[in-house]
Each structure stands twice: as structure tokens, then as C-alpha cells.
Symmetry: C3
Subunit: 261 residues, 3 copies
């Protein structure tokens, strides 16, 4: 049973997402559709790229991921397919696949060109419905991407913000704030020594690094490695972003300390 995911900034109050699903079921009635989210902040390509990369490893091989955060809809920006060993991605060529393709340097890339796999009428403002949904449904039905499009060898990508060393401190920043107010940084677990003796400095405040939210008392702040492998700042049973007044871009310093101190 072919699996298709949807990631958009369309919200859920209008019929935009439903139109995409109607188009998909019209082409592939057996499709299973999973909403990754439709609450990407409007036009925020980096947010979409981050949410997507935290999800894709948990989907079965062969899943088709349709991503529509598309401020350039109707302009000359290309519509693309990326095929990795495990998955297909269908998206506008605006960088939204930058993070998922970092671990897939051999991905095959295509520009979507064949009108036979799109709706007969293409609007200027809603390619999610008119191009990306039908292409996703045809891929899920087994149509080869080289029939739907033409091979290309470059993509628009953005450079992820990477943490930098200043002396012995690794300086990163908050790149995503989740529903709970947990503030997720761009420092990844594999940048930490197995030696657990670190402190995290954020906005002048020194936080200890723990394994679980429950390691501190209710409403106390802490740092920990979150479920996607990134260092995050949290408040137990609370909203760290609000309580600590942290926003996107806030600096996070990881400082090794003497374990006995």
C-alpha cells in the first residue's frame, strides 16, 4: 500500500490540504496519506526543512514525501523530484530539501516536466494541488520519475547554520522551537564527547545537561539531547521559550567542564 506524506504551510482551516488529498485518491485510491504537518510558518522554508528531516527516517522504504512550502509558486522556480535509496521527495526547488539530502549525496534529481502527470489545468497559485499532489500519487503508483521529469544535476540548497568553536566552547543557536516550547539547537549529539561533563550556557544562564525532563523538578530549566539528536533547552512541565524568553537564533554555548567540579 503506497504511503504518501504531506508537509505544507497551508494550515488546516481551509480546503487546500483536502484538495491535495482528493487529487491523490483520484489517482491512487489505495494511497495511505500521513500529514507530517500543515503548520509550517507561512513561507518558512528552513522550518519545513527541519521538520521534514526529523520525520523521514521513521517512514518505511518507498514512502513519497510531498513538501509544499512554496513562496515562489507560479514563478520560474522549478518543481522537482529527488529519489534517494529509501524515499521520493516532491517539492519546489527552493531549498526545502536541503537537510534531507545532506545524508543522500547520491540522490537522483529530476525537474517535473511531463504534463501528463499533472492536473490538466495548472493554476498560478496552487501547485500543491495541480502538480505536487498528482506527481506524488503517480510516484506512489509506481511511475518512474524519469517519465515524469527530466534528470537535472543541481538544486537550490541553503547552507545550514552550523555551530562553531570559540576556544573550547561550541557555539550554536536555537534553530527550532517546538509545540512544547522546547528550544532545539543546531548542536548535534555526535558533537558531544561521550564524557558527560558539559554545561550549557544560554542567555547568561548555566544549565546542566541531563538525560530526561524528569531529572529536574517541575518548572526547572535543563539541557538535554532531544529525540531527534539535537541539544535542546527545556523546562520540565513548562514552556522553555516563554519562561526563558528564548527565540530563534538565540546563542547556545556548550562548555566542557571538569567532571568533579
Amino acid at each position: 500500500m503506497p504511503l504518501i506524506t504531506l508537509t505544507t504551510d497551508f494550515g488546516t482551516q481551509d480546503a487546500y490540504v483536502a484538495c491535495m488529498k482528493g487529487v491523490i485518491y483520484g489517482i491512487q485510491p489505495q494511497a495511505m496519506i500521513v500529514d507530517i504537518t500543515h503548520e509550517i510558518r507561512p513561507q518558512h522554508i528552513r522550518d519545513a526543512a527541519f521538520v521534514l528531516v526529523t520525520a523521514v527516517d521513521y517512514f518505511p522504504a518507498g514512502t513519497v514525501h510531498v513538501v509544499v512550502v512554496d513562496p515562489g509558486v507560479g514563478s520560474a522556480r522549478r518543481a522537482i523530484i529527488a529519489q534517494t535509496g529509501d524515499a521520493y521527495f516532491v517539492a519546489p526547488d527552493n531549498g526545502v530539501l536541503s537537510l534531507v539530502l545532506q545524508s543522500a549525496p547520491d540522490a537522483l534529481l529530476y525537474e517535473i516536466t511531463n504534463p501528463a502527470y499533472q492536473l490538466p489545468h495548472i493554476s498560478n497559485t496552487f501547485h500543491g494541488r495541480d502538480i505536487f499532489a498528482p506527481v506524488g500519487a503517480h510516484l506512489a503508483s509506481g511511475v518512474s520519475p524519469d517519465i515524469i521529469g527530466e534528470p537535472i544535476d543541481d538544486l537550490v540548497t541553503f547552507l545550514p547554520h552550523l555551530p562553531q568553536y570559540q576556544g573550547n566552547q561550541l557555539i550554536g543557536e536555537i534553530i527550532y522551537i517546538d509545540h512544547f516550547g522546547n528550544c532545539i539547537s543546531n548542536i548535534q549529539a555526535d558533537q558531544l564527547d561521550p564524557d558527560p561533563c558539559y554545561r550549557v550556557i544560554i542567555d547568561g544562564q548555566l544549565l546542566e545537561l541531563y538525560d530526561t525532563y524528569a531529572a529536574v523538578n517541575s518548572l526547572q530549566p535543563l539541557a538535554l539531547i532531544g529525540s531527534s539528536g539535537y541539544l535542546e533547552i527545556a523546562v520540565r512541565d513548562g514552556n522553555a521559550s516563554k519562561i526563558l524568553s528564548l527565540s530563534l537564533g538565540a546563542k547556545v554555548a556548550l562548555k566542557p567542564v571538569n567532571c568533579t567540579s
Copy 2:
């Protein structure tokens, strides 16, 4: 595989929608259910009618659309089925089908009367769960509407607000504001001459008509024909409703101009 859509004002924080889905799967385990939206403003029948009409054309023939925006639940208002050439609609008889049935004057209409196709206990406050969901599931399973109800020949409908000419200007109004803040008017694409020389006047401001959001600079306002075929007022990468202080009912004037001006 029978397809059922749901459009309600129930929101997504409670179990109301899930109860409807549980009832549907209990009757038709093969059903595919698509949420059109559950975020219709509470009791706003006109919003629901608009969202529904923008979605239905994109669903395969035979889809059953269950619509529950039902301020009169438990009163004498009827529960109805409308059968068009392409789809079934199940809804309270309060005008919520006014727009989808404009293009289906020959729809067959039924009042839902047969208790065998409803839950055994009918509450006074939640016919979505007790009547509309089970009727939708039975229709999707192939039960004929004339077994579920009795033919009727009239419905409650509301008159859509239609744009009017004042001199050579077509005067419409904002009838829907979407998730992005795009302000959708009741002026439809087929009311525009193929000649592209129009200006749009809204709240004293003159806007040019473009094909795409990307035709103007970021945060600039524009008018365009949106994906559902209505004239809409937008701000590129921004929220037109907030930036331009536009609300439902705001007047929109479409003014033909000399193309060379």
C-alpha cells in the same frame, strides 16, 4: 474503497471528530476518511459552504461529503442527503449545501428518516456522531439514499452575496479570509474580460492585477485570481488581512482601465 470527507466546526481538541470516525469505521471498515476541515468558525454556515465548494471538484466520483455545522441540532431542522451526478452530501438542512448545489440543479434530495441507518440512541446535541456519520458510512457502503430517507423537493438555501455593477465598476466584497490572510472576494474569474487591463480598488487603495504572488516584491499588496477562481487580495509573503486591515464584508471594486495607462 469508499471515500468520505468531513467538514465541521468541531475543532480538533476534543474527541468529537474521532467519535464520528469510530462510528464510520464500525459500519464500513474499508472507508478512507479525509478531513476537509474542522476549523469552520463555530456555527458559521456560510464559511462552511464556501470551504466545501472549493474542495468537492477535486474528489473522485462517488465521494460522500459529510458536513456538520449545525447550530440547530436537536430542533426541528431536517437532516438531509443530496445526491448529485458525482457525489453524495449529508448535512443538516440549514443552507450549508447552498453553494455546492448551485451547479447541480438536478440533485436528488432526501430527508433522513430511517432509524435503521442511525445510531440506536440519538442525542439531542451531537447528530454528527449519531446521524450524519452513520448515514455517510452506509452511503459509502452502497446503501441507496431512498432506503435511508424520503424524497423531498425543497431545501433551506441562502442567497450568495453577488457582486453588482455600479457604472463600469463591478463591486464585490470579501467573503472569506484564508490561513495566509489572503482575502477572497465574491468576484469570479469568468466575470473578468480576457483583456487583462483591470485595477482593483479596496479601501481607497488601487491594486494591480497579477498572475502570481511572486510578481511583486516581498510584503507588497496585489490582486490576483486565486486557485479557486475567485479574485483575491494578497500580500506577497505576508498576511493581507492584517497588513491591509481587511475584514469579511469589505468592498472590492474591479475597474477596467485603458491598457496603455
Copy 3:
């Protein structure tokens, strides 16, 4: 076709819910997944218990309910399965099943212990993805709970707040406020005499008990028995919580009166 429901406090802006669904489909590609809600207020176990109990009776026998409101994730709290005559429940052992198990005193209880039915790597912060989702998928696939876990004979439960008599008045409280602002009390329909002559006193205001919202004029307050069998305070076409300034815990008195008065 195995049916799995999800109830969490994860919200819908991140990929947390999608990760759970990806894991489920990887194990059981035929699963039908229904979201009960993901908008439980973060860490509010009592809200989750209430929403769950209003939903489960409407799902077919054999449904697997996965519930993840889990402030103690990563601590020593157990992960459990409860098997009733009709359903399976998979949840942290923190009281979230208190209400659904009140009507199932003979439920079989298990602690989840077998790593073969969990993801290979268990994070400290997201057991929804790593333990509860895969266990739910295996149960839906027919794996017996006594293979996934070990029998236990106790659970963490909370005592529901029950209404109390003061003289001839039954004094309850508001335990849940829904999307519409309806204020649901802990007084249940079967605590009312079939004799309809009651008044409801809330915050000094005397309300009549009606059958339907439509029994009063628009924006007028009323009391009625809601769709889940609890006495609720509503405002027709309005938000009772806002209009009447009612919050969780507000006292509700049910007072029998002379029918002729």
C-alpha cells in the same frame, strides 16, 4: 483492517505525531490510524483521560488506543498495556487510563518489557515513537500482549472528582471545557431523576435545564445533558466559558425544584 487511535499532547506543528505514524505503518502497513486529538494541554493527564473516555465507546471492538501524555518519560514510570473486552490501551502508567478502566474492572494489565516489540534505539524523551507506537502496531497485528509484556496487577490511577450532596443539592464542578466553550461538569445524566424539574446554579446564576441548544435564544445561557452524558453549561451560538467567565473547577449545583414553580 486493524484500527489504531492516537491521543497525545504533541500538537500538530512538529513531526512528533508523524514519526509515530511512520513507525506504525512500517510494522503494520494495513493499519487505519485515527487521531483522537493531539491538543491535550501539555502534560494534562486528567484532560487526556476525559477526552479518551468520551471516545472509546464509539470505536469497533479490537481497536488499539495509544495514549501518550507522558510528563515522566525517561523516568522509572512503567509503560503499560490494558486489555479490556473491547479494546487495547497502550500508555504510560501515570493515571491516564483511570477513567476508561473504571468500567472495565477485569481488564488484564501488562508492563511492556520485551524489547523485540520496541524500536532498537529507545530515546529518553520520546517513548511515543520508540515504545508506544510500535507496541500499538504489534497489538493491531495480532501479537498477544503477554508476549510484549509481563502481567501486573496494579496501576497508577487518580480518583475522579465526584459530585457531592449538600442537603438536596448535588454539587459538582467543571472538569472540561470544549472547543465551543461548553463547560462540562462531573455530574452525569444518571444522577438526575427522570423528573425534569431541576435548576442549575453556577456562579450565583440560575439556569434552566433544556434538551437542546436551540431551546433558548441566541447568546442565552442554558444547562443541558451533553453528548457524552454529562451536565454541561452552554451558551447558544456562543462560548459559555468566555461569556459566563467559567473556568475548570468552577462549582455547579444541581437543585431539584417544584415542577409547577
